[in-house]
Amino acid sequence: MAILETENISKSFGGVVALKNVTLAVEENKVTALIGPNGAGKTTLFNVITKMDLADSGRVLFDGRDLTHLKVYDFARLGVLRTFQRSMPFGEMTLLENVLCGGIPVSTIGWFGGFFRTRRTKTILEKDRQKALGLLQKVGLYEKQDWLAQNIAYGEQRRLEVARALACNPKILLLDEPVAGMNPEESLEMAQLIKHISEGGLTIFVIEHNLDVVMNLCDMIYVLNHGEIIAQGEPDEIQSNEKVIEAYLGRKGIWRATG
């Protein structure tokens, strides 16, 4: 069952075609990857899906719903959460506060909830707090809950963002290069984290360069090159797909030769 679908998405910047008739479907409860060489248009696709950029044509469907008229800030409430290629924590807030922000879309007490401290709001706030702490625990940042987000390591910041995204009970997570800029150790930790949360029934759509991570993690892979989908399928199929090899390496055969 496809929970997220794009239909013929096209986008150009001036004369440069960034996306051309991109049609794909992300299956529920599975991990789907979008790979491709640099400049293929992967982040642009994410931007178009989440309305940070507007497509020239085509449409996006989530849970069968047409997303054409939505704005950037509507997505979280739908359950579509996205992380970014660059780390984007709320620097001057503590880790706990960062994750609490993630709870904003699903908060049951509304904007002015904490305003007046009734017994009801106090219990809800405490519950929210416990939930946030639980998420920090899940990503291994529980001990640093009072640290300022700008003071933790880069890899930790990216895990924080995952925790923050999880705080709003998302149905699908769009992760844009989650291990970008990480060393092998951190990448492994992140990959394990992603595997862990996907097993809980969350759909994951991930953009990634690191083929090791992708091959081990994903159920389905789409390959994007020059804005077009050139291949799709399971990891084994993709590994031996000639077009994919050519896109990444530019020359046929070299991968075959090296096995």
């Binding site: 910047f13 931007n47 940070m52």
Partner: protein
């Protein structure tokens, strides 16, 4: 008909000075990512230093111009070093606040030095209007338009043809790569600030004969320069120039046909409308911010 043409010329001449200020704003924005509150004060600076040289020291006009330009450049370098440079690494809010403080200090300095007196700057070619094609025209205004156009042209050539100009453009587009190419980004920023202060100063000394020279002229003229700068999309040079001429014209018609007293209220409304209609300016071409 005659009055209309006279008004047009006057409007354009004032607008030309706004354009020069706007160019300075745009330059600072593109090369230094700085939106500078104190830029309007370079306008005042130019007018007063020019006044000092030409009226009080009785120096010839050309010499006064040179001294004014030089002084503005030097002062620009000093200001950048003292008040702007320490904040390059800080959040942009701090820089704005600093430029606000700077503007206050500079303006009050002029207030104290000169008192709340309006000074008169003698016109370049005498008071008598000249007959051009049957229309009586004030030569000063033509001079202002001519000089402003010359300065803008010279500035464009400077950016395109000279080494320093190209270095500035490099820093404006991509400071990191520019530094890899051996360009000292800090020095360029300092130069940018100096040059834009000089442009503002030129605007001031050009404007001086058109109206009175007062200590607070930088305030509204700075705002108007800003309006022009955003007209074409902040950072756009043709927009700044066009905006200047347009604003000068609009103001002139306002003042004659609507109300001279509430002229500034109308300028405020214009500002709001320009911001509302296209904060990216009316001539903006899409420039994505990478996510």
């Amino acid at each position: 008909m005659e009055t209309v043409i006279q008004q047009i010329i006057f409007g354009i001449s004032v607008g030309a000075t706004y354009s020069l200020v706007a160019l300075g704003f745009s330059m600072q924005f593109r090369a230094m990512n700085l939106l500078n509150f104190a830029h309007g004060e370079s306008f005042t600076m130019g007018a007063f230093i020019g006044l000092l040289c030409h009226v009080f020291l009785k120096l010839p006009l050309l010499l006064s111009w040179l001294i004014t330009m030089g002084a503005c450049g030097v002062i620009g370098v000093v200001i950048e070093f003292v008040a702007i440079r320490p904040l390059y690494k800080a959040p942009p809010l701090n820089l704005f606040i600093c430029s606000i403080g700077l503007a206050m200090v500079l303006r009050q300095m002029w207030n104290i030095l000169t008192g709340a007196v309006a000074y008169k700057f003698p016109p370049t070619f005498g008071e008598a209007p000249v007959n051009v094609g049957g229309i009586s025209v004030v030569p000063e205004q033509l001079w202002v338009i001519g000089m402003a156009v010359l300065l803008m042209f010279g500035f464009e050539q400077f950016l395109k043809k000279t080494r320093m100009g190209k270095a500035m453009r490099a820093v404006a587009q991509d400071p990191y790569t520019a530094s890899l190419m051996g360009i000292s980004v800090l020095r360029m920023k300092s130069m940018v600030y100096a040059v834009s202060t000089m442009l503002g100063g030129a605007a001031g000394i050009l404007f001086a004969p058109l109206a009175y020279v007062t200590f607070d002229m930088g305030l509204w003229n700075g705002i108007k320069g800003f309006i022009c700068a955003i007209f074409g999309g902040i950072g756009s040079i043709p927009g700044a120039i066009l905006g200047g001429f347009l604003l000068g014209l609009i103001e002139q018609f306002n003042s004659s046909y609507i109300s001279s007293l509430y002229k500034d209220v109308i300028s405020f409304l214009i500002l709001i409308i320009v911001i509302a209609v296209r904060p990216k300016g009316l001539m903006f071409r899409s420039r994505r911010e990478k996510v």
